[in-house]
Structures are given as C-alpha cells and as structure tokens.
Assembly symmetry: C2
Homo-oligomer: 198 residues x 2
C-alpha cells in the first residue's frame, strides 16, 4: 500500500523531470546544442567528486553534491537567468523564492524544509560547501565556453572584465581552480573569443 | 601554474560532457524527446536524496550518489544498451570494461583506481549502496514510461513479465519502492501500456 508520504515524494520526482527541458545559454563541448539544466547539474555534481581536493579543508563533498543536484530546481518555474543578464537579475530572487515554495512544497514537510534549507545555503554562499559549489557552478560554463570558441560570450558580447569578476568567486571556493580558469580566459582573450575590456 | 594532475582532471571533466549526447530509450515525462544519459544520471542521483529513507539501514547515500553520477560514464564509448536488448547484452560487459579503462584512465592514477572501483562496485551489485543505486536506476525509467503511456514498452513490444523481473531488483534495494513500482506496472497493464504476458 502506498503511503501519502511516498505519493508526495514521487510527485516531486516526476516534477524534477522538467529540469531536463530548461535550456541554458552554455553549449555542449561539441557545439551541437545548448545544454539543459539537468545535464549541467549532473556535470557539476560529478566535478565536485573529481575536483574535491581543491575545496577548503574539511568541506563536506556529500553536502556539496546534494546542493549542486538541487541548486537549479527552482528554474523549473523561474527559468534560467543568464549570469550577465542585468535586467533578469533584478527580480530573479523573488521569482526563485516563489518557485522554491511551490516545488519543495510538493515534498513531505520535513523534506521540504531540509531541501529548502540546502537551496538557501547555496544561495547565501556563506559556508565552505556553498562557496565551493558556487565555484564549480561558475567554472563549468567557462570551460564549455572556451571549448566552443567563446560562443556564448560572443553571442552576448560579454567582455573579459565581467568574466574575471566571476572568477573571483572561483578563487574564493578553490584558489587553484580560480588560477586555472583565469589562465584559460586570458588565453581566450588572446584568441579573440571575448573582448578584453568592458 | 597548472599541474599535470589538474590538467588530467580537466581533460576528464571535458570528456564527461559527451554523456550529454548519449540518448537513452526513455522519453522525458512530457514526451517531447528521449532523455540523455547526463539527464538520467542527474535524475537518479537526486532521487537517491529524495528516497534515501527506503534504502537498507546504514546505507551511505553519499556513496550511492557518487556511484549514480558515474555509473553511466562508460556509455560515452560503449553507448546505451537497452535493458531488454538481448543481443546487445552479450558483449555489453566487454565493451563497458574497455570504456572504463580508457575513460577513467584519463584521470590521475589514484582517482582512476577509485572511480573504477566505484563503477565496478555498482556493476557487481553486492553492497547495500550498489543494490540501492541499481533499484533507482531501474525505477526511474518505469516512472517515465508510465507517464508517457508506455512509449518505450510499446515501441519495443516489452511484456509485463520482463518488467516484473526487473522490479525484483528494486525489491532487493528498497522493498517499499518495489511495491510501489509493481502497483504502477499492474495499472499500466490494465491501461494497455504494455502486454500482460510474454
């Protein structure tokens, strides 16, 4: 016999499927199409395991992973806001908070509260886990952008100074990964994948 | 300065991107297209957190999650073998072993060994973690198949007895989820989403 608890959990699991239909600005490395939020979330959650050694000592990688798996779920309702979209940024927080209420509200109350807290922790970027998770979330699009000759940077006329400001967030969570990414973006400027100044 | 170790790790991270181009048989819940391996891996890794309470007591969910994030990486080289494809099953093991050698071999030696061991543990289905991971990997396509009126079952003329045999693997890892899935497939038979007998 199926309990009400399991019924609610399965409703959430089915709702999650919609994250596979949210397209991001980032192209796949092979340039064939834009990646989906589901794919991006998998990629960075896996990166947390590959690059765990660069996190601050004592960082709980299991918690980072859970955060990364859930961090974009609000975009099922709120959509993906491009990181350099200043107009979209204005009401992003309100849209995402409303989405969190509805989506995590599908779950039993204890899980609603736990998942919402994990999402809020990611958004606040105050714990080691959230800061490292954010670093990976910032790094992966830069890797894919470099691999696709700066496709998204060129499409939106993003300048290097804006990307370097994002890299400060990678520095915070994982200095070695920040340094790597900075070298990559300097090379991107040399190759003309993005403009050097704002 | 970038170390050789980080260079190898980033090469693996970029290679991972290809899992977003491996199409599975399962449709998205909205029926719009087949899901990719990257999306599927994200979905079941997230399910591990939502449904953790149904795992055997003492199951390490962090380890289950790591296993699920990595379990399909071999399909970058070996492709997705449909669970009911008996011809494809014959050489699946050899193809996937070779893929594991090449793909995990991109990593520094210690990580190559650790990730390969985690993948081998998943394949052997002998630990609580592997058995629970396998249950989720079996359950998700059934949920999506039911939501799409049995699309993949009908396409490949899969009969209920075969699906019920897979559900025994869900029972092993999470009896409550096995019972839920069995009820769902019984309802699918009543609705004509798949044929009742082999």
């Amino acid at each position: 016999m199926t309990t009400d608890r399991l019924t609610r959990q399965i409703a959430f699991v089915l709702e999650l499927d919609k994250l596979k239909t949210v397209a991001r600005q980032t192209l796949l490395v092979d340039g064939s199409r834009r990646e989906t939020d589901g794919e991006h979330s998998w990629h960075i959650a896996t990166m947390a395991h590959v690059l765990a050694e660069y996190a601050p000592p004592g960082t709980d990688i299991g918690r980072v992973t859970a955060m990364l798996l859930l961090h974009d779920v609000v975009e099922i309702d709120a959509g993906d806001t491009f990181i350099h979209d200043e107009a979209g940024a204005l009401d992003k927080e309100a849209r995402e908070r409303q989405a969190a209420n509805r989506l995590f509200g599908l779950l039993p109350d204890d899980q609603r509260d736990a998942f919402r807290a994990l999402w809020a922790e990611f958004e606040a970027k105050a714990t080691n886990e959230a800061i490292f998770a954010d670093a990976l979330d910032r790094m992966q699009p830069i890797l894919n952008n470099f691999a696709t000759q700066g496709h998204t940077w060129r499409l939106h006329t993003v300048t290097a100074d804006k990307v370097f400001r994002l890299i400060e967030r990678i520095d915070r969570g994982a200095p070695a990964l920040g340094a790597y990414t900075r070298e990559l973006v300097e090379e991107a400027v040399r190759r003309g994948y993005l403009a050097g100044a704002g």
